[in-house]
């Protein structure tokens, strides 16, 4: 299947399941998921609606914990961590990009990018410098003091990307990042993702868009809460 890379996995799921109690019935949103993600991986997680993509993202993003199984992030078992420690892990090691951008409305571009740094206790000056640099990198150097409502969808998503990068995370998780964008802006965003991966970032894109598999180096398909296939591009191409 996936050839073990030269380095330790940044993410490892072992027998992960997620159960939801819906009245009398137990819904198994994820079952028997084993997965290793290595530094520098560029992954798309694909599957039809209801297959468990969001559940998977929540667990990978330490927003939720598996009902069964273990999750190692940078070698640390996060499946049993306290709420505070999970917050700490999210703030330090993960970057989130959401379909609806999820910027904080009362904050400016720079301030939005600074939010993760604030919770990491980075000094005001340092976090301001980082935020300005990242905003410039995603092409918003001239919009530092704008508010989200003054920006287009594509610009907002670029702020979100800058924000996801601000704490220099081990993994960036994007949930339908281009779902609300027109094809032009969406293409721009995907271009940024490509560039980030080229710079060595580990990205996980969750999407129902089949075309994405052509872009990423590895494609994981989910079906009814299990991994149906997990292919690297070489294999896809072959």
């Amino acid at each position: 299947m996936v050839s073990p890379s030269h380095s330790e996995p940044v993410i490892e799921l072992r027998g992960v399941e997620k159960h939801y109690q819906m009245g009398d019935t137990l819904v198994k949103a994820l079952q028997g998921v084993d997965l290793k993600i290595f530094p520098g991986d560029y992954i798309s997680i694909l599957g039809p609606s209801g297959c468990g993509k969001s559940t998977m993202l929540n667990i990978l993003g330490c927003l939720d914990q598996p009902s069964v199984g273990q999750y190692f992030l940078d070698g640390l078992d996060v499946s049993k961590l306290s709420d505070d420690d999970l917050s700490q892990v999210r703030g330090k090691k993960l970057g989130f990009i959401f379909q609806s951008y999820n910027l904080i409305q009362q904050l400016t571009v720079v301030e939005n990018i600074e939010v993760p740094l604030y919770y990491q206790g980075v000094s005001e000056k340092e976090s301001r410098d980082i935020a300005i640099e990242l905003a410039t990198r995603v092409g918003l150097g001239k919009r530092l003091d704008h508010r989200p409502t003054e920006l287009s969808g594509g610009q907002q998503q670029r702020v979100a990307i800058a924000r996801a990068l601000s704490n220099d995370p081990s993994v960036i998780l994007a949930d339908e990042a281009t779902g609300n964008l027109d094809s032009k802006s969406g293409g721009d965003i995907l271009g940024i993702f490509d560039q980030l991966n080229a710079d060595g970032k580990t990205l996980i894109l969750i999407t129902h868009d089949e075309g994405m598999s052509m872009r990423t180096s590895r494609t994981i398909r989910l079906k009814d809460g299990s991994i149906a296939s997990d292919k690297r591009r070489e294999e896809v191409a072959r």
Partner: protein, 441 residues
């Protein structure tokens, strides 16, 4: 446990940023924030203003009572109101009533703690300086009267024991009387007349605090009723007996009145404050035994003072309740808005949690907002609360006293209200599941 680590981890830097963030969030909904803070504004402002007014009123009352002398017991002769005895006496044409020297000697002999007694007799008649006159009161008393009654000598001197023993025709005028009879000239050395007797003015004494606090005459130059009580002239009691005899005649409302009163007023000075109330009780017994009808009244300034203090306490309790209720209402208003805010900002809470905010970060963020809201209300309330008493003093000429602790207290309570009513919304915000909060529309 949460609070412990909160203190440790919450650096000044983060506090500053949280405050800035709070200001931004509150500023986003300026009108709503303002209206929410209004509850606190009125609560705080009314507490301070009412305290200042209450404090001013009770201070004035207490000051007047204290000037009477808290160690004094003042006895006054009054016409008995009993109708049958009055009818009985009508035949004699001379109304005989009131305190006697016998009362004094018995009080001195039997009541413990009596330091000194100050007898006084009064003649109510016109006092003249050449063509100027006023209906006033002439009080015959003893040389230690000013000291015992806390009346200061404004000019000149009081009469001496020698002058009393020699029945000298000297007098001391109250300040109001001196002003009225001698508007332009120096009274000391001059003479005043009552009926056919002349008295040389040797001093001016402060007005009786019980009679008046104002001294100015009205536009027509006529003294008000309050002021006429302050028109007072003091002479040796022996001199008064010499000149006016035992029976005092007065011409009032077209008919003569004759009355025989040995003493109009007796001030009993007690040696220690603790013994004032028992002494008052003992004096009452002596007087009840000596007088068949109640032709005297007893004023115990200390008792009045205690009553005034008790009234003030009750006032403070009422005030405290009103303040508590208004702050409670303000607090509920704040809580209501904060709960709405938390719901409205569910998505923001989810985002912050995803980006690394701990539960306590969320708690602190919302608490700071609530406290800023109530604190701002408190500041405005304090400003208004300080201004209102000034305005009242200026326009209503009422004494108001702002105790230094009142604004501090009112402000602290407003902040505490913010914390108390902010806790629940803040914990509700922090307790939200991040996944669900992120999904919230």
């Amino acid at each position: 446990m949460i609070r412990h680590s909160l203190l440790r981890e919450f650096s000044l830097f983060r506090l500053k940023r949280s405050v800035l963030l709070g200001i931004k969030s509150l500023w986003m909904h300026r009108l709503r924030s303002l209206l929410t803070a209004m509850g606190i504004v009125f609560g705080v402002c009314s507490v301070i203003a009412m305290l200042a007014i209450g404090e001013g009123a009770s201070h004035e009352a207490q000051q007047q009572i204290k000037e009477l002398g808290s160690q004094n017991i003042i006895l006054r002769s009054v016409k008995a109101t009993d109708a049958t005895t009055a009818g009985e006496q009508e035949r004699s044409l001379i109304l005989e009533y009131g305190l006697t020297y016998r009362d004094i000697s018995q009080i001195q002999a039997t009541v413990p703690g009596v330091l000194v007694t100050i007898p006084a007799r009064e003649v109510k008649d016109f006092i003249w300086n050449e063509s100027r006159s006023i209906d006033g009161s002439t009080l015959g008393t003893v040389p230690w009267f000013p000291e015992m009654r806390n009346r200061s000598i404004v000019r000149g001197r009081f009469f001496t024991e020698i002058e009393m023993n020699t029945r000298a025709p000297v007098c001391v005028l109250s300040r109001s009387l001196a002003r009225h009879l001698f508007p332009l000239t120096e009274p000391i050395g001059d003479t005043v007349r009552i009926q056919t007797s002349y008295f040389r003015v040797i001093g001016v004494i402060a007005d009786d605090p019980a009679a008046s606090s104002a001294g100015e005459e009205d536009k027509n130059g006529k003294p008000s009723a309050k002021q006429s009580a302050a028109m007072e002239m003091l002479i040796p009691i022996s001199t008064l007996e010499d000149h006016f005899g035992e029976v005092l005649f007065k011409y009032r409302s077209g008919s003569f009145e004759a009355e025989k009163v040995e003493l109009h007023e007796v001030t009993v000075r007690i040696d220690e404050p603790d013994r004032v109330m028992p002494a008052a009780q003992a004096i009452r017994h002596v007087l009840e035994r000596n007088h068949k009808k109640v032709d005297y009244e007893m004023i115990v300034p200390l008792d009045l003072l205690r009553r005034a203090e008790r009234t003030k306490q009750i006032f403070n309790i009422v005030l405290g309740s009103i303040a508590a209720i208004s702050l409670l209402v303000g607090g509920i208003g704040i809580m209501n808005i904060m709960l709405a805010t938390v719901t409205e900002r569910t998505r923001e809470i989810g985002i912050r949690r995803a980006l690394g905010a701990k539960k306590k970060d969320i708690v602190v963020q919302f608490l700071i907002e609530t406290v800023m809201l109530s604190g701002a209300g408190g500041v405005i309330g304090v400003a208004l609360g300080l201004a209102i008493p000034l305005i009242i003093t200026h326009f209503a000429e009422m004494v108001t006293i702002i105790e230094f602790w009142a604004p501090a207290l009112a402000f602290s309570i407003s902040v505490i209200t913010g914390v108390l009513f902010g806790i629940y919304p803040a914990f509700r915000a922090a307790g939200m599941n991040p996944v669900e909060a992120l999904r919230h529309e």
